[in-house]
Subunit: 487 residues, 2 copies
């Protein structure tokens, strides 16, 4: 099987495209750049969703749903926002089709007076509603999130990583002052970090985006940035302090506790199905995916091995009691009774990244044992039935932390400090993150981007610019930043 | 408060519009016919979703996600389907906006070669994918569902009942033979009945749609039909046996077990946010909503009653232990500490339809009691702390079944048999369902619709056409049917 999979070390891009399809995560939709998320991929998304949904509900947020369709004029209300999104908007202009000459055509009489766009993000439609809902400080804070689809008409697309339509959550909160909005922005970033590190097993740098990289309409954008196996960066989640920009654009004022009128303070924040791309590219190997147990659709796959109907019957009985103990510990499992050979199944489920494989043959039934194999390192154990629950629990925890530790070592080993711009260019060329000084100027940032395609991924929270010089201009560093080529 | 609410008996339409807004379920979106589902309404949807999602997962279905955007040409592939949906399609023609004369306009250079439509339903895009995924009988059945938004450009819209965009689930299954597809269609209908009756407390008639009322592209459409308080019918869910229509339209064949090639058999089925409209219109009264406990976002609302800080402190302590026992039994609760008066809060939460109100005043703290009030019938109880969990459990179960029984009596009392077409017209005019004979002709069906606006809601499973004559033509009845005016 793996002979059909492109080499992960020399051609990770083809490896990625092939694995996404072969593992049954997604497929290409008929409209250019769109994606079908297949059941296995969607279960992964459901698990991620469930984890994050519970995190935000515990912190007082609630879900709601805002319309897909936005009047064209709304986008224009916030100057930076329209610049950021106008070039990739799906525009609805008509509302009927009709038959003509054996063909089906757009009915010109159904032309809309004002065109509407499909949301690329929902700030504008949501703030048009907040204007109706917010009068006084008593109406604040509003802590709303929505799980939704959005459309951005991208030129170059990749399954999960950049698609014309994607699924995400977008939080949109409203606050009575700047401090509260800033706190919300950072609290959410911490939830994103926790989701990435504790569930996806993907270590991330947390920090602030530069002015040129921030969200169109934000005062400040915070982000989590992960390193993929090709040493490129993946922006995995962003949390924006929108200041009063959208409140001003939509004229949303509130009466303060001391009877003044003030514009409302806002945040917005999002993570998307892109995270699935991040999991694939952070943990994969030549055999395929490695899915972290905490979010794996299937944590344990059971492969019965038998020659005849009699053996099969015995194994079925045995598996029945095994399933009992798996259900007791709440493990997500699947028994593969399909017609393929055991060897084929081993490869298949390794490719799909299931953390633990359980092999059950006639000898295992006799000796009241099973064989367990770890996907992450291939270690094999023969375990007695009585030990099974404990061992599975232990393995799932261990695989989860091993995947994280491995990804973290990889990232740390490939995050460099440099002494010269020459060295900088060499590392960017061969791959890796660079922590270095930046003089804070747009000019330096854009020159480096032009010359190397590397961008400032973030100004990390733990920056220490003292005694650093700018890697490009040589002047004193305003910030220590993380540079990388990014997805 | 209720003086601002239109009279439910004489003007249920205005009552409905007002209650949906005032209870915080939904609001009007900026694009005509679109809806914002506010947190309280969305929690209701989340609860419905959770119940049904678990039902379908237990029966072997799995979720996936297909693209929002569909090539225009796809719709045309199934003849009846295009007739059914072409007249209400949102059509995307362009993909960029640009600035011009201080305005933002559609960039004519971004015109798409082939226009795409926003899915009004997903049969076409899904069957274009099934063509890739299905080769042999081993690939069948496919039992996929998706939770998604769809857009149908409706002329006359009502919050929840008929909106330009709505949320729904759409199941799309593929089978190796007709029997299996028919069984799936009926199994799902049974889940819909269960959801409606056991969770929404809405009794439904189950049956078959006539040819003229069936889904555009189906061989047979089954449905659940409910009676609203104005005695009109609400189609609350439909399950379609699509035969081989979409398989033929998209050329989806499979190799059978005996090595033949055959077109695949299909079903599709859906329920939507319309169900929320159904709950409102099946259970409301002049005071507002009555939400069935099994799906209520808040099952018990706690209203503390106090005069000063000292009393408040005592009550806070007491409520702390009450919350403990509510959490033990898994009841969904909310404590209303807002500044409004108790009387205002009573009205507010009655309007929002919370099944049980708990009043806690200083005397209750002293005597270790609480006051409970049922939303459905206003009965009031003074209960000791020790009895609390049991009483709450009991009340929630009782309110659930009372709401169902009340709705069922109402429906049964307003479902008539008639002797003449005169009588038929009188009842349709004054409101109600009619069970009567139908000769099975399109002509009769359309004449009755023309003359009375009543439609055949379904041919109920328990029909008994023997000895019946057609209420219109007088000829022998082919079916016993249920007639009503519908939403």
């Amino acid at each position: 099987m793996s002979k059909n999979i492109p080499d992960i070390d020399t051609d990770i891009s083809s490896w990625y495209n092939k694995i996404v399809i072969k593992a049954g995560l997604a497929d290409y939709g008929p409209v250019k750049g769109t994606m079908v998320i297949k059941p296995y991929g969607f279960q992964l998304w459901e698990n991620i969703k469930e984890v994050f949904d519970s995190m935000i509900k515990k912190t007082g947020h609630t879900n709601a749903y805002f319309p897909l369709l936005i009047p064209k004029s709304f986008l224009a209300k916030e100057a930076e926002h329209v610049d950021g999104f106008a070039k990739e908007c799906a525009v609805v202009t008509h509302t009927r089709l009709k038959s003509e000459d054996n063909d089906i055509v757009v009915d010109p009489e159904s032309r809309l007076e004002e065109e509407v766009i499909i949301r690329p993000t929902s700030e504008t439609v949501i703030w048009s509603m907040y204007k109706k809902w917010i009068q006084s400080y008593r109406d604040l804070p509003i802590l709303i999130n929505q799980w939704a689809n959005v459309v951005r008409w991208e030129m170059r697309t990749r399954l999960f990583l950049r698609t014309t339509e994607f699924l995400w959550q977008e939080g949109h909160t409203a606050h009575k002052n700047k401090q509260e909005a800033e706190k919300e922005t950072l609290d959410i970033l911490e939830l994103y970090r926790k989701l990435a590190e504790d569930y996806l097993a993907v270590p991330v740098f947390t920090g602030l985006k530069t002015e040129s990289e921030k969200f169109a309409g934000a005062d400040r954008t915070y982000c989590i940035e992960a390193m993929m196996l090709d040493k490129r960066a993946l922006q995995a989640g962003t949390s924006h302090n929108l200041g009063q920009n959208f409140a001003k654009a939509f004229d949303v004022k509130f009466q303060t506790e001391d009877n003044k009128e003030e514009f409302v303070w806002a945040t917005s924040w999002g993570i998307s199905t892109r995270l699935i791309g991040g999991i694939i590219l952070a943990h994969g190997d030549q055999k395929g995916l490695k899915i972290p147990p905490n979010i794996a659709p299937i944590q344990v796959v059971l492969i019965p091995i038998f020659r005849d109907a009699e053996q099969r019957q015995e194994i079925e009985r045995y598996i029945h009691s095994i399933i009992g103990s798996l259900e007791d510990i709440g493990a997500r499992y699947f028994v593969d009774w399909s017609d393929s050979s055991p060897g084929y199944k081993f490869n298949e489920w390794e490719m799909k990244g299931v953390p633990v494989r359980m092999e059950i043959g006639p000898r295992d039934v006799e000796s009241n044992k099973v064989v367990l194999v770890r996907r992450d390192n291939g270690e094999k154990y023969s375990i007695s039935f009585d030990e099974l629950s404990d061992k599975i629990n232990m393995l799932l925890i261990d695989i989860q932390s091993s995947l994280f530790n491995q990804a973290k070592s990889f990232r740390d080993n490939n995050t460099h400090t440099v002494q010269s711009y020459e060295e900088f260019k060499n590392i960017i060329e061969s791959g890796g993150f660079i922590r270095c000084g930046w003089d804070g100027s747009d000019e330096t940032e854009s020159k480096i981007k032009e010359e190397t395609k590397a961008t400032i991924r973030c100004i990390p929270f733990d920056e220490n610019p003292k005694n650093l010089n700018c890697i490009y201009s040589g002047g004193p560093a305003k910030h220590e930043v993380i540079y990388a080529k990014a997805y």
